[in-house]
Symmetry: D2
Subunit: 335 residues, 4 copies
């Protein structure tokens, strides 16, 4: 299923250094599709403790208490689950122009548009597996009201004291048929460092993309379903591993399905908890501990098959659905 025209890992790592641009600042927002919009909104506001910034027609815009922009999550009513689009914010206006030029050279661009919610302009394009994405620099920063103002001026808004109290958007995981094609596009056209990868004898199974000091903002793992453009999960960070454990109790108490965790991933060391939101999409709650990548010529960590068969960091066997389930599901798509 891997494209044949692209680089193998050895070549890729050799070229890696010249691939890196730092034009992307961070994963900015994700649009999730939900067949149960009202329940999804309730889940993110009451269970995760997020703030609802705005609702317009079929969509709701939300942010975690320390997200600095208007929203990091857009929920859109749809007949099935999955991802609408996602967005990277660039480091400068010039970086935006440079990345757009590179995308257009690949023929994957849709063109400029007015970003919704008064952000300014954005450039829309698609990733090789079909996921829609936008790049932008101009934004609409969240301005707290008296009610949402934090007592600490270095916090974007008030600690909610409600549900899981998620702090900020952390990362997203997509699924794709062709990991090599994704890797070449991401690092060759958009930039970032490949912080970790899973590489079996027949090619890469997963790639982690780091664009700042976090060890990843985006992961892409292999989709065996035959479908394109599917979504694996989006992750919100909490301040401590203790709060991930508390999140598990909150899920249990509120009938939220826990797919797996809390436990620690070997890959990236993430202390994770995976839930399904009412619309069917997988949501992760995680804590980054003190890990950061500060080394400017960090070398990619490569995990082979034998290492992955050991399970998660402390030996937990990965549940089967984690390898297979994406949204939309085959059931939804065949209706």
């Amino acid at each position: 299923m891997q494209s044949t025209m692209n680089t193998n890992l050895e070549q890729f790592l050799k070229n890696n250094r010249s691939y890196i641009t730092w034009d992307l600042a961070h994963l900015a927002h994700v649009e999730l599709l939900s067949p149960k919009l009202d329940e999804s909104i309730r889940f993110f506001t009451e269970t995760l403790g997020m703030y609802l910034t705005e609702t317009t027609g079929d969509s709701a815009y939300l942010r975690a208490y320390d997200d600095y922009e208007h929203h990091t999550l857009k929920l859109t009513a749809h007949k099935h689950s999955g991802i609408g689009h996602f967005a990277w914010r660039t480091r400068t206006p010039e970086a935006l122009e440079a990345r757009v030029k590179a995308i257009e050279a690949q023929g994957l661009g849709f063109g400029w548009q007015d970003h919704e919610c008064d952000y300014g302009k954005a450039y829309r394009f698609r990733y090789p597996d079909g996921h829609e994405c936008e790049l932008y620099f101009d934004t609409n920063k969240f301005k707290p009201s008296a009610e949402t103002q934090s007592a600490l001026k270095n916090t974007a808004s008030k600690f909610p004291a409600r549900g899981m109290n998620v702090r900020r958007l952390d990362h997203m995981n997509l699924l794709a048929k062709d990991i090599v094609a994704f890797r070449d596009f991401q690092f060759g056209t958009l930039g970032g460092r490949m912080s970790e990868t899973i590489e079996f004898e027949d090619g890469p199974k997963g790639v982690w993309v780091s664009v700042n000091s976090k060890s990843y903002d985006l992961a892409i793992t292999e989709d065996h379903s035959g479908f394109s453009g599917r979504f694996h999960h989006v992750c919100y960070a909490v301040n401590s591993r203790e709060e991930v454990l508390i999140a598990a109790d909150i899920a249990l108490e509120n009938g939220v399905f826990i797919e797996t965790g809390p436990h620690k991933h070997a890959v990236q060391q993430t202390f994770f908890l995976y839930l399904y939101e009412p619309g069917g999409n997988r949501i992760e709650i995680a804590n980054p501990t003190a890990r950061l990548i500060l080394d400017p010529d960090y070398e990619t960590i490569v995990w082979n098959k034998e290492e992955r068969l050991k399970g998660q960091a402390w030996g937990l066997k990965t549940v089967e659905s984690f390898h297979t389930r994406g949204t939309p599901t085959p059931e939804e798509l065949s209706i």
Copy 2:
């Protein structure tokens, strides 16, 4: 200010073993007086995350999510702050009878009454400094509704996921002019072990009462104000020290006055946070870590003046108000 007719510490400790009865099971509930009842109710339900079980006339009855009885806190509208009464539950009906007999022998009893809220009968009496107390065995256990039912049947009710998520009543601290009189009454008439005490050259300044495996359910410290029957604080426990830190943020974000903490007491090792509720009473949020007293012939820890001058466990100087402020305040009493 200490009574002269009573035992000194050396004599007390020598007699200590014979003092111990295990007739008291645990501190059962506390009635706080509040000049701002509605705000106090909101504080305990929204900020501490407690459940409101019942309201009747000028009082409200509340419990933490894992308190097993109808209430552990009664809030009563009053012109000033302070304590209405508090209660011990006894270990058996026979233990109740035995303690009542001992109280009556001291002439401090008021007599039997029907305990409110369908608990059954209770015996009301007063401590030497005037604090009203009741003993009872028959009770009214909390029966969760569909909405408050926990997913874990060994939890009294659903984890609230709201505010500080306090788990259970932990202990209470009263103030008294005469610590020796308190000590003799508590251990001679009611029972329990003196787990720790502060003893200066001129006598005891504080006494900690343990009646089960917890290292204390009640503390009494010296009142220099000239008033009687005053209240120092009541403490609710959370599941981790991390949650005490989170509680501090919640207090900060919601304009709740933080008197001191989070920090660790040298005495009892309690990881503490002291707040004032809207009615003016001091409230502690604490975590017990894994400390328990399991030793059946545990020897009282005695702290002298030099040791106390070192401050709290990690060196924090105790704020002055912690030594002087009780409720009701002199200002309230002089109106």
Copy 3:
């Protein structure tokens, strides 16, 4: 495999109240057998962070930093793994006499002996499945040296800052063929409350024994191996769930086998991590959070088969070995 002459659960619970005596103070110590004594000693001192109090001949005596007695763990060189004996400390000398009388009436007593390590006298007997046990009151409390003295006088010895930093012995789990026989003996002859039990249609599968405010000091679960007197695990408590997570990393880094966890048991809510020590015995590291049983007429929690099939609290499926593996193992016994 259950004895037919004994009570069923309904009868048992009806009689439960009269069964309760509070003569046992706490689980006092456990003797583990190890075919690799030196490695086991190193595991408990370096990996768990325990103190070695004494070594005599083929045995080593250890304690966690806040255990108040000379030892809570005895390690004895042996050709196979398993348990040598364990001990309860009674609440008073009179309680000891009363329990011995009850044991002798059952014909399970071996008689009085001089307890090792200068504790005084102890009474040795066996449980129905053959586990040897002793009761004692007189003890040998740990007296810290300058080197092991804690800066806080209410801590038994200095926080080790080494390995997992376990605080105190928490509980033990034995295996037995006949759970009804165990239950009748424990509660009818020795005392305690049955805090929780697993009861399938064909009888009890596990019983949890609480003798103080902790929700259990001893658990007994069904042994399907055909062998008698086997051991499931002993648990040491740490101060926080965060430290259980850290313990998992320490196990991973030091090649200690992690059987399952960290995760939260539905039964008893224990936040657990199960390891195998070099001698082959299963060791648990756990944190009790703030849970205590303070209710003097607490009602036994009964878990049925359907509830147990849900897995652990957050959905983790219990690993098969947890249900089957005890020490000594069939392999060791057949040599």
Copy 4:
């Protein structure tokens, strides 16, 4: 005491955007001077849990378990305490050349040198208050031995399970007479963003420098002592706030002086603990929670005098020594 020729805050913030370069990757290492070298080495290895990489003559080189280079701390025997030099690693070799050119234009450069410990070449210069610093790109990455190899290949070395288990160098705080001069040099010549600043009516009192997604790698605060080139503290990060609390207990148990904390700074939200190492220098143990600065056009947080008078985040009054004590101390310098 502020230089008059430099920009005021308003001007500075207006120019801020054009000041930012991202040529610095991270704070790389700090050289501390110690009059008690052996005790200092023991403190950092046994109490903080750091690894000793190398010792040469009068110096020792250390790193935390997840520091990726040969060392992040150099300890050098000296007649007094204080800082020898510190270092930034640049993002690329080209970034290094560009910054050196800018420094030389300021006349503050000393020139190129062979970096010790086989790192390659480095450029040495001084900051306006006299602190010596070096810039370099080529480095010597830590290569673990069998004994120090982590079980997780994305961790630089094995979790030590010893003392405070610090994970990585987090940031450093220097003292300077002229904050404006520091600010202009740092941001005008070296780059980075000013994430937070304390600005009183008579000028800036402190500046926080962020060069990656962390909210600061370097802080500079005002020195009132009349001396130049002094050091305030260096900070190592642990994985959780719980471990900062444990670090406080380890300090207490081992006679390490705790100056203040654990508590939360309002500025930067750092959960802090300040200790003095045997050589006299102030050391911080902290946890960053999940806070990061991802916003590429983040606006500087400005704290005024009134806000600073509120004390730390939860109200703790800052201890006087924190405002006045630097190393070397006036006592050391007057000998």
